[in-house]
Amino acid sequence: MADAVQTSGASAGHEGPHGHHDPNLAHHFDTMEQQFECGKLGMWLFLATEVLLFGGLFCWYAIWRSNHPEVFVYGAQKLDWKLGGINTIVLLVSSFTMAWAVGCAQRGNRQGLLLGLGITFLGGIGFMGIKSVEYTEKFSHGYYWGGSYNPTHHEEGHAADHADGEHAETADAAHAEAGAADSHGDGHAADSAHGEESVADSAGELAPQEVRPPAALAGLSAERLTELGYEPSKVLLAAEAPGGLAASAPPTSETKLSAEEVRNVHLFFSIYFCMTGLHGIHVLIGMAVIGWLFVRALRGDFGPGYFEPVDLGGLYWHLVDLIWIYLFPLFYLI
């Protein structure tokens, strides 16, 4: 090893008379293996930073979900798990074709490489296309993030019907279990008294299992609380803060909630748009990389002796895929 390094080190000198062994070997490396190892390690480290970048958002999600599960359960009802599921399949397939493209590059199969990269690229287009359909759908109902969240009542009902249709069975089961089907199953905007009533009722149903009083109770009068069987002094106000103040009764994914009983739904859409948006940007970057690899493959740059860029581009694409594999269940399924 040491010998090999020294001899090649001497002749690979800058502007040296012999030039490089391989035009793809940068002047400061001794061997192709060393260059390849550097690229690999560098890429893995870069991927680690990407994971940590998303990690901040996953943390935010975890903290909020554990304190305000109702926001997430309600929000998830507004997402279309079928479109999300199709997108998951699209990305999985594209990851497969990418891996296949890398294999082709290693074997020097240029045709296969081009085909693999091409299909992967199309997968990216498909994913972004479906994503934009989903976004447009959300926007049309006024499901924006944070301060821009403005669902129209008509649309609200429509969305709920839509969801009803889809989850007919699970929704029914939930109604039966909670015994609250009458008060808020229809999804139409209820007047505030009615809304309060339904909150209190469903909360009353859940109360025995709960240690902490649900956040939804926070606005009720002392009489009403006693009537419901709570000790008023134990009900905390301002339940929004994550630092340990009251969290509401954790609904299961089968509980059917309505906007009236869930506060701060816009936060669900904030985190949804931030995470999927940041992921979408990564998909676009990945597509740019694949496009660039495609052009280089057309030029015939790659072969069994030199396929490092395809390999590294593939790693990146797999990571983008992997992040979606986490996002999909977190937003759409649970």
Binding site: A26, H27, T49, L53, F54, W145, G146, G147, R263, L267
Partner: protein, 565 residues
């Protein structure tokens, strides 16, 4: 210009370009598009120095305002309260994100790291250049904010100040700038880790690396693990401000304290990004100028790694008063004390290295000695702050200001020491020892005059970031401001000393200080590809192989360290 080790015949093979890196090509383009780590390092050094001056000017403006106690009642104040807030914000943001964090790693690390390894360059020269331009872009954006509603939140950008309706629009620029600077720092760290892993010479084991590289390596680990979290936090801040996301805004059910968690999850490790490289340089300078093998090599090496890892689990000590639960406070307090252990290990090892050494009080060593004093005070006062009971009283007072200036300026002192230490290698000229020493003494006196009084007034209750204050504190403020002027004078002398040396300084020998790490076994300045031959790694702290040669006014090695061809 024969090489040090083979004076008779030129050792280099015909293939190697022996021109030094400064003379290998000319013209601005050859610099701006260079892939040479040495030139990139020098460009960083220039950029960082300019920004340091700018940050320093803001600091002087702050100190000058604080000469007077009742600023708020002044009829026609030269510096209004709004301006004052902007000045200390920009001072802090520039010094932290633009100067200290990249300071030692990006400028000096870039220059010496590959040479210390005997490599020709860092693993990814293009990424290295990209990092530099990201640094430039981030800096430009941060400065541009001056003209679009300058930021007045302090360097910590706490929500909701930073995201409320009437927070300055310059926020977006500064935060975007800091985001880009963060990624510049990530890429530098990534480059260094890969380089240290892959481009070591055969025979250069991990425990033969100069301790500076262990420090840079640990720093790079923190950069890679912590900075992306800052990145996402800053992104969230931007979308929060521009699109009202509500993450950190109580009006929308968000939580401002969560921002503090995210921010300090990065920014506490970031203080070790700032101090670790300085500790690495310390190990080099202390050993070389004591002419004695470093004491406790492995302890110093592993303590760098330990600091890097411990640094991730103490961020809560910035939030003792934020409403965190008592249990969390207690745990964070206990963990904070544990960080002090590896720091102390280093200090004791340096002292043990100096013990019975033959100490040469040249300028780099002076800075190193100042560091021990300054970091000693800075680190020990950190323990006061890590103690729950005392921190409740001291939090957000000048005591904290003094604490972090003692530690961070410790880094600046070592940065100066490192500049003097590697100056001959970088530019091939010796600076004037007397001028260098005068500057360093002025800086040391000025620094202590500025910040010791701040401990006193802080413990008496003077809050930080105040524009107007009670007259009882005025005497401390005046002392502090005078100290800052003394420091400014010291800086002028240092600038003069270094600049004039470029023209008038004596030609530097290859090894003026008698160090044994590889960068001193090539020419000063080094050739384009760093060595005219193949360097052989050895124990970097073993000085037996070196002897003083009065003819070249430098050291030469008895047994050659660079083999030909």
């Amino acid at each position: 210009m024969s090489t040090l080790n083979a004076p008779a015949a030129p050792a280099y093979a015909t293939a190697v370009d022996t021109r030094n890196y400064l003379k290998a090509s000319y013209g601005p383009v050859s610099w701006l598009l260079t892939l040479d780590h040495k030139r990139i390092g020098v460009m960083y050094l220039v950029g960082i120095s300019v920004m340091f001056l700018l940050g320093g000017i803001f600091a002087l403006l702050v100190r000058t305002t604080l000469l007077f106690a009742n600023n708020a009642e002044a009829v026609d104040p030269l510096i209004t309260a709004e301006l004052y807030n902007r000045f200390f914000t920009l001072h802090g943001a520039i010094m932290v994100f633009i100067v200290i964090i990249p300071g030692i790693p990006a400028a000096l690390g870039n220059f010496v790291l590959p040479i210390m390894l005997g490599a020709k360059d860092v693993a990814f020269p293009r990424v290295n250049l990209l990092s530099f331009y990201m640094w430039m872009l981030g800096t430009a954006l941060a400065l541009a904010s001056l003209f679009f509603g300058a930021v007045d939140t302090g360097w910590t950008f706490y929500t909701p100040y930073s995201t409320s309706e009437n927070s300055p629009s310059g926020m977006i620029l500064v935060v975007t700038g800091a985001f880009i600077l963060g990624f510049s720092s990530v890429f530098t760290g990534l480059n260094f880790i890969v380089t240290i892993h892959q481009l070591r010479r055969p025979g250069q084991t991990w425990f033969r690396l100069p301790l500076f590289l262990w420090a840079i390596y640990s720093t790079a680990v923190i950069q890679i693990l912590a900075t992306p979290v800052l990145g996402i936090t800053l992104l969230l801040l931007i979308v929060e401000k521009t699109m009202k996301m509500g993450f950190f805004n109580p009006a929308y059910g968000g939580d401002p304290v969560l921002f503090q968690h995210f921010f300090w999850f990065y920014s506490h490790p970031a203080v070790y990004i700032m101090i670790l490289p300085a500790m690495g340089v310390m190990s080099e300078i202390i050993s070389v100028f004591s002419r004695k093998h470093i004491f406790g090599y492995r302890f110093i090496a592993w303590s760098s790694v330990a600091i890097a890892l411990f640094g991730f689990i103490v961020w809560g000590h910035h939030m003792f008063t934020s409403g965190q639960s008592a249990l969390m406070n207690t745990i964070f307090s206990a963990l904070t004390f544990s960080v002090a252990v590896p720091s102390a290990i280093k200090v004791f090892n340096w002292l043990a290295t100096m013990y019975k050494g033959s100490i040469a009080l040249q300028t780099p060593m002076l800075y190193a000695l100042w560091f021990i004093w300054i970091f000693g005070i800075g680190g020990l006062t950190g323990l006061f702050l890590g103690t729950l009971a005392t921190d409740i009283h001291l939090h957000d007072t000048y005591f904290v200001v003094a604490h972090f200036h003692y530690v961070m300026a410790g880094t600046i002192f070592v940065l100066f020491g490192a500049i003097h230490y590697w100056w001959p290698k970088m530019f091939g000229r010796m600076y004037d020892e007397r001028q260098g020493a005068i500057a360093s003494i002025l800086l040391f006196i000025g620094f202590n005059l500025t910040f010791l009084p701040q401990f006193v007034m802080g413990s008496q209750g003077m809050p930080r970031r105040y524009y107007s204050y009670d007259e009882v504190y005025q005497v401390y403020h005046v002392l502090s401001s005078v100290g800052s002027y003394v420091m400014a004078a010291g800086l002028l002398v240092m600038g003069y000393c270094l600049f004039t040396s470029l023209k008038r300084g004596a030609k530097a020998p290859d090894n003026p200080w008698g160090s044994n790490s590889l960068e001193w076994h090539t020419t000063s300045p080094p050739p384009l590809e760093n060595f005219n031959g193949t360097p052989v790694a050895d124990d970097p702290y073993d000085y037996h192989n070196l002897e003083w040669d009065p003819q070249i006014q430098g050291f030469r090695s008895k047994k050659p360290m660079v083999t030909s061809g």
